[in-house]
Subunit: 472 residues, 2 copies
Amino acid sequence: MTDLLDRLARRLGPRGFTADRDAMAPWLVDWRGRMRGRAAALVSPADRDEVAFVVAAAAAAGVPVVPQGGNTSMVAGATADDPDALILSLRRMNAVRRVSPEDNMLVAEAGTILHDVHVAAEAAGRRFPLSLAAKGSATVGGLVSTNAGGTQVLRFGPMRALVLGIEAVLPDGGLFEGLSALRKDNRGYDLRQLLAGAEGTLGVITAAALRLVPAAGSRTVAWVGLATAQDALVLLRQLEGATGDAIESFEIVPADALELVLRHIPGTRAPLARGHRWHVLIEAVAPKGAPPVPLDEAILATGLAEDAVIATSEAQADALWRLRESISEAERIDGMAAKHDIAVPVSAMPGFMAEARAAVEARFAGVRVIAFGHLGDGNVHFNVRAPAGADDRAWFAQQGAVVSAFVHDLVTAAGGTLSAEHGIGRLKRAEFARLADPARLAAMRAIKNALDPGGIMNPGVLVPLAEAPSLS
Amino acid sequence: MTDLLDRLARRLGPRGFTADRDAMAPWLVDWRGRMRGRAAALVSPADRDEVAFVVAAAAAAGVPVVPQGGNTSMVAGATADDPDALILSLRRMNAVRRVSPEDNMLVAEAGTILHDVHVAAEAAGRRFPLSLAAKGSATVGGLVSTNAGGTQVLRFGPMRALVLGIEAVLPDGGLFEGLSALRKDNRGYDLRQLLAGAEGTLGVITAAALRLVPAAGSRTVAWVGLATAQDALVLLRQLEGATGDAIESFEIVPADALELVLRHIPGTRAPLARGHRWHVLIEAVAPKGAPPVPLDEAILATGLAEDAVIATSEAQADALWRLRESISEAERIDGMAAKHDIAVPVSAMPGFMAEARAAVEARFAGVRVIAFGHLGDGNVHFNVRAPAGADDRAWFAQQGAVVSAFVHDLVTAAGGTLSAEHGIGRLKRAEFARLADPARLAAMRAIKNALDPGGIMNPGVLVPLAEAPSLS
């Protein structure tokens, strides 16, 4: 081990290698502060050749490698947990190598933060259409490795749909050069799609070619009051029919979530005169140079809205978005919650929200469910609050895992997933192993063992191996 | 072997099993008539349980299984070539199990022909946006397994982008149930994307959940005369900027391809008054209820067109499309050609068409290159005609492989692919092995061996194994 660390220190130099405890400390704690990890060193290669050197050396020594980008995982997917592990930070590799407006594509190194991708795309008269709250920290490598989502998935899809090419160092140290970003390429197994969402367990992504779309023209933002969640879904489908692909966001907010925001977030106010059981926030985007999307007429024509308001300025649009984006903060101020990042088929979500809420509140006396988010993707944040008057921390320490297992069972019975956009990481691995169907698990294990026979890539994350019977 | 066939005959019954040579004959010849295969029996299961029975029995006996849908492969990807092989036809499994307009999704069994998918989607007020010439024969299982393309890929992507879920029998006979068609699902390796494009080498797809899009409103079809291929690409990007995602087809036709059509196809006539070196056929689609896309104004505003015509009726639109769709037939009437289904990055295609044409015509005296097709996807049909006066058959027997290797070398040097939409199959496997980078091949072999250790699934197709050094 000492020999390995010496070799790495020599090759990577002082900017690329540290085994200092204080220097490593920030990168050993996960984003949500749930876990404090362990590692032998933090290596920060300057280029893909140095990444290949690190991985090959680690493979030869049988030492774990934990790739890390912005360290913004919600499921501790980038937290090392082995005293011999190497944290492989991609943060020094943050160049946008190439922007090609004619190909509607740019190539960014793994350590490029999302915000810089947005800026580079805009400078070329294009747009990169995925965004999320952590855009100032989250990096391209992590976004691809976790197939990140966000509030704009409805029209252009999650990260997986926006990846045109990948360059990666495989677990044997070999370089996979898949950056060519062809629009059509039918040469067998799509290794790019296999690496996307693999959470660093099959190799280290060093760069990605990302899809750009035409620059946006004006956006139209609406806030609509509705009687039922089912009405929200019908509204979405009718608006899609009426406006083509113009609807980019369609977020559902129940009355209790809006109340929390209005109570806890300064400067917010109710957008509609009366109360409604359900609200949706809608954003439609017109092409550049085209007139704004006539969202008001389209909403009126459905006859579904109890009331609606269209933002008449960017400031008003931002204020409506702030209501949606402040829900998590308002919840946090209000108290602890067990959070679940779940999805079911879109058509089943309105019913699921009502039935699962009732089932949870019946099973755990006094708890409250607040579910909100990406209705158009069939993906909501399903948060369970402790009973009023209970000591939040003590209650969740005792009941948290039971509550989550109950929620995951309901989701699984509805044909859904316990991870819609955050991934599995370390925190959900046991639940994934408990709930996944055997054929899926066996195939994942077989692929993992085939590409990483030494098991050095991000061990303990995503793939439940310990409990594994082998495929054959 | 006799024992295996007896067991299969008993389980599948007379509709599901035959070893009769005459009955098997049509399914032993590939679509282009290039290859006559061999097999022990043709099995046609009625449901997924029977598929699982066949695969498990074949796995136990070590007998090859060749999945077959419409048998329309352009690369002999569904042709059995082993006297012991079982042709596994999915044609009896042709039910559309479910159409869910609210989920923008339908579930079709593997043997459903593409035309029936179109009909089912339309009946539900939706649209399945992929189409191709063989839509009356090609089946869902084959379309997914080969990641099929076509003329409408520009906006909605190839088959891979339209697959929301897959149900498949894996090589050990286990059932992978991945039909739930969640819009967001981050549970690790995407086995659906691994099976899509795998050409039946990793299992048998028994059903797929397919993405639907809103029903189309009016289409606007234009034919534009241009001075250069580069102008065509600039035109495409400007129209995309001006019309959002409305452009669904953008096909390039050089003067010589149009001349062939006008000469050989009865009832065709030149759409523009004068001759132009390049033409593009453009189709833009408006949402239902929306006004037609103002394609004429948008084209005029670019200042790039030498001349242009907009179809003013469906009959005129069909006539313009007929010019494009008749090129292959016109070529066939005119004489033999070595055909290449290639792609390079979109921005490189105008230059590649000129330079590769010049290189081929310089290297092989007297040949003529005709390249046309999906410019917006960076994918053209690059066809090389024998020298005038030569005996076509004799010339291609002697020079065909040399010509194709030369073309593939040019494509590879340009960062492109020797298979844009047809796949590898049997016909391109040797060229794929020659040109693929070692890391890609090693990873593909490792995955193939991991999921199909007995090598029973469609052996000889796609994955070059014989020449393989192992990964580790």
